[in-house]
């Protein structure tokens, strides 16, 4: 940790060295420690300390960006000089209006836990050891990673933006394997104290053992119950493909021409909130603008998208919602703290209410096939089960889905009341498990 005072001093120094009309300096620092295990032993155990300074210099309507991970005076001056030179060689960008003016940042949600920051390699080995020892006893093979660390983000610009936050992150994921099955469990939070390695072990081992001797089913339309990691995967892609202003402005969002229209079923509400402590809060974006709560879809109706300063300036009367990514950014603003409204069901009730269906633990290698139609493809993985007459009866060989999420989220029959946080890039999503009818699997694999 470099600390608020030193980081802000550093940013002031960089700002004062800039001859540009406007200047922005972003500091991203982290200490990241990761213990990775496979075949029931630790095979990678790493620690990293890094800090990166990114300088955006504006000359008229010309913008240049330069970065460095060396924070000594010479390197910082050099980054400012490179960004300035780049800006001067630029051509005018008519879409650029201004860096954002400061907006007060309200009370910051607490996302820093000293126990996470101080977590030692021995402590991580102890937690990982619980799973490894259980796998050794059961004749299973465990693989996964436990990461803990601190992150600092600070933004300052010549218009007066000054923002600093520090947080901690703790994440765990595991795949437990037998000869013919596997099971998954994960955890993500700011607080390592909330991690229950025993529960994670139990979940992954149970999924692995219960899916042994998997059988094949024919691809086709099925009622599916998607557990939280699978729902979060879908939600991430919806955010990337369609919930950002740039995608909408360029006509490549599945919400293009649909604003105010019903796009999903009435039981689907999705929003982004960087301040909700139930997620992974981060009070401001990479331009130092406070995160607003943005309703994206309310009771199935498309309500809005997220903006950074560049996309907000393309629309009259619009201001940034605090969703800028680090500059330069070709993707535009993207929501990274997503929430899906819960329902009133439970996983047990959803299974009990299914005559025949498939329970999916998670998806693998999901990718867009057609962004405007929100068609995604991907595989099931690490715990796919057949449901017959309201009971999970056997493990299944994995299946490939190719499906429009516009269709799938119009066919949601039930959502769980309980939601789970799934970590992601500088944030994550809080999602329920959902039951979807007529979900299309287009292929199968051999395991």
């Amino acid at each position: 940790m470099v600390g608020r005072e030193r980081v802000l001093e550093l940013l002031e120094r960089a700002l004062s060295a800039s001859p540009g009309d406007q200047t922005e300096v972003v500091f991203i620092g982290h200490n990241q420690n990761l213990t990775r295990f496979a075949e029931n032993q630790i095979h990678q155990n790493v620690a990293e300390k890094n800090a990166r300074l990114s300088v955006r210099v504006v000359v008229g309507k010309k913008v240049g960006v330069a970065g460095t991970n060396s924070l000594d005076e010479e390197a910082v001056r050099s980054a400012v000089a490179r960004a300035t030179e780049i800006a001067r060689w630029q051509r005018d960008n008519p879409r650029f209006v201004s860096l954002p003016a400061p907006v007060p940042i309200a009370g910051q949600s607490e996302a820093f836990y000293q126990s996470t920051a101080d977590c030692s390699p021995e402590e991580r080995a102890g937690m990982v050891g619980m799973l490894i020892n259980r796998c050794r006893r059961e004749g299973l093979r465990g693989a996964g990673a436990l990461a803990t660390g601190t992150a600092e983000l600070a933004v300052a610009n010549s218009l007066g933006v000054r923002a600093y936050t520090a947080g901690t992150t703790a994440s765990f994921s595991t795949v437990v394997m037998s000869e013919d099955s596997s099971g998954y469990a994960d955890f993500s939070s700011s607080d390592i104290g909330r991690f229950d390695p025993e529960a994670a072990t139990e979940r992954a081992v149970a999924k692995c053992l219960n899916s042994r001797s998997p059988v094949a089913v024919e691809p086709g339309e099925y009622t599916v119950i998607l557990e939280e990691p699978a729902v979060a995967d879908v939600l991430f892609f919806l955010g990337y493909l369609g919930f950002g202003a740039q995608a909408l402005q360029e006509g490549r969002s599945f919400l293009s021409g649909q604003m105010g229209q019903r796009v999903f079923g009435e039981n689907i509400s999705i929003w982004d909130d960087g301040n909700d402590p139930a997620g992974m809060p981060i009070p401001f974006d990479f331009e130092g603008i406070p995160k607003q709560r943005v309703i994206l879809v309310e009771q199935g109706v498309a309500k809005g998208v997220v903006y950074d300063s560049l996309t907000a300036n393309q629309e009259s009367g619009r201001s940034s919602t605090g969703h800028a990514l680090p500059a330069p950014n070709i993707f535009g603003p993207i929501p990274i703290n997503l929430f899906m409204a819960p329902g009133n069901s439970s996983l047990e009730e959803m299974v009990a209410g299914s005559e025949r269906g498939i329970l999916v633990t998670r998806f693998h290698y999901t990718n867009p096939v057609h962004p405007v139609k929100a068609i995604l493809t991907g595989m099931t993985r690490d715990g796919t089960f057949l449901i017959e007459d309201g009971r999970i009866t056997k493990g299944l060989k994995n299946l490939r889905f190719t499906e429009s999420m516009l269709k799938a989220l119009n066919n949601v029959e039930a959502l769980t009341a309980q939601r789970k946080f799934q970590g992601g890039y500088f944030g994550g999503s809080l999602v329920p498990a959902i039951k979807v009818s007529k979900f299309t699997f287009t292929g199968a694999t051999q395991f």
């Binding site: 155990n45 980054a79 493809t377």
Partner: protein, 481 residues
């Protein structure tokens, strides 16, 4: 740097390490992005630091820092050994490394014109001129052009006595046109999708791409695709372009032969491999037309280097010979389990990552057909070009790809254009259905600068040589449209 390396290696030995290495890395990057006539992004990066990797009590430890000083080197050395001791708490077997001859050597990418020496103004002009021509082809909603360059200087030193300096330079770029209509969106790219084509060469490589020469066609095809017929569904004969085959090779040949994957060390993230060790030397991966090599020595490849990040020389290895699986990509740690020595494929994404097995240039060797002959010899089928979407299961068996464009083949000639082409299959069945591979005239080495693997995440720059090839009875036109 030699002083700091010696300091680190002395320190880890004193702290009980039976093996140690240190890598210093300094990476310069530059990226230019233009969009609809304006420069949307222009950025330069400067990233440096060092990482120390040790074996203590038979287990690995790794620590790294961006602060380059004697004090920090000693702190990181101590941290790495401490971490290794924690790893040893759960070890089952001691890590054993295959032997490697210690060397003092250097390697430098042969470069005509240093891409960092070319004026920014000239690079921007080249891109803007090409991007402008995209719009001549029709109503393009978003025209884009990108250029990128990277220069990485790295020093590797080990307790076994190696001291290797390398300078890898690469550059490349591309253009793409996006056309949009109600409920439809189509993209065309040149010379390849996903930011273009890259090579370990100088700026002469970018000039040879001649982006402007192809721009108008690219724009026109994006618009034409909006009105093209939907790709038909069913089992088809496919001819895949080299651009699409590059990613097919990457996903269904390159990743499955990574021996660390086979042994489960990527299981919890990107998955394992169907290619288990008993298949080595006998498994029929593909038809007799399929010959695949891993070649870190081929000039210009994005996976071309002098030495890997364990100090093992880059090599040319047969992977699949006449359809039979012959070799994995290995490391010093994994190779001994097969009674082999490392074939030099360990690379790290910078100073702050531990090296892992990465593809080099995984090439489908040329056959003896020409693309023209292949089309002429096909009664009904599809010719598909440039990747649009990709997905494969966690053992690398069931894949599904989409391409930007396709054409029906009717009675030996290219017929109507089709949009949203997709195809799917199972890896060995697919490669066994290959009945023709085009020759040297159609063969090109493609660069993939964004291969993700590992936790924490690492991006590798890898190459894939391919010429168009033909596959029989492949399921195409997946899903409902």
């Amino acid at each position: 740097m030699k002083d700091l390396a010696d300091l680190a290696l002395r320190a880890v030995r004193q702290q009980g390490a039976t093996y140690g290495d240190i890598r210093f890395t300094h990476r310069l990057t530059e990226s230019i992005g233009v969009k609809n006539g304006t420069v949307e992004s222009l950025a330069s990066g400067d990233d440096r630091g060092f990482g120390i990797r040790v074996i203590v009590d038979g287990a690995w430890g790794f620590a790294s820092s961006s602060m380059l000083s004697r004090e920090e080197v000693l702190r990181v050395a101590e941290e790495a050994t401490k971490i290794a001791r924690a790893s040893a708490l759960l070890k089952q077997a001691k890590t054993v490394l295959s032997t490697v001859e210690p060397v003092t050597d250097s390697y430098r990418t042969p470069v005509g014109t240093d891409p960092f020496a070319v004026k920014l103004e000239d690079k921007v002009r080249l891109l803007l001129e090409a991007e402008e021509l995209l719009h001549k082809g029709g109503a393009i909603r978003v025209g884009e052009g990108t250029l990128g360059a990277m220069k990485e200087r790295k020093i590797f030193a080990s307790t076994e006595g190696s001291y290797i300096e390398q300078e890898i330079t690469e550059c490349g770029g591309g253009i793409s046109a996006l056309a949009v209509a109600a409920g439809e969106m189509q993209r065309r790219s040149y010379p390849n999708a996903h930011r273009g084509h890259y090579a370990t060469r100088g700026f002469e490589f970018v000039e040879e791409l001649a982006l402007a020469d192809e721009a108008e066609r690219v724009g026109r095809q994006a618009v034409e695709l909006l009105e093209a017929k939907q790709c038909p569904s069913g089992e088809q004969t496919l001819i895949l372009s080299g651009t699409q085959l590059a990613l097919q090779i990457h996903e269904s040949c390159g990743h499955p032969v990574e021996l660390d994957r086979v042994y489960g060390t990527e299981a919890s993230y990107a998955g394992t491999s169907f290619l288990t060790p008993e298949k080595l030397g006998s498994f029929r991966y593909g038809s007799e037309n399929v010959n695949i090599t891993a070649d870190a020595t081929v000039p210009g490849g994005l996976g071309t280097y002098g030495y890997d990040d364990e100090g093992v020389p880059g090599q040319h290895i047969p992977i699949i010979e006449q359809g039979i699986f012959r070799n994995y990509l290995t490391s010093r740690e994994t190779a001994p389990s097969l009674g082999q020595s490392s074939n030099g494929t360990m690379r790290a994404d910078g100073w702050n990552r531990m090296p892992i097995i990465r593809m080099t240039n995984i090439n489908l060797e040329p056959g003896d057909w020409s693309l023209e002959e292949m089309i002429k010899d096909t009664r009904r089928g599809l010719f598909l070009e440039i990747n649009k979407s990709w997905s494969i299961d966690d053992k690398r068996l069931n894949f599904q790809f989409g391409t930007e464009i396709g054409w029906e083949i009717i009675d030996g000639s290219l017929g109507p254009m089709v949009k949203n082409p997709t195809y799917t299959g199972i890896t060995p069945q697919f490669w066994n259905s290959c009945d023709a591979v085009a020759g040297k005239e159609d063969w090109q080495l493609w660069g993939t600068p964004n291969c993700g693997k590992g936790e924490p995440g690492q991006m590798a720059h890898v190459g894939h040589g391919a010429a168009p090839a033909r596959f029989r009875n492949v399921k195409a036109g997946v899903g409902k449209w």
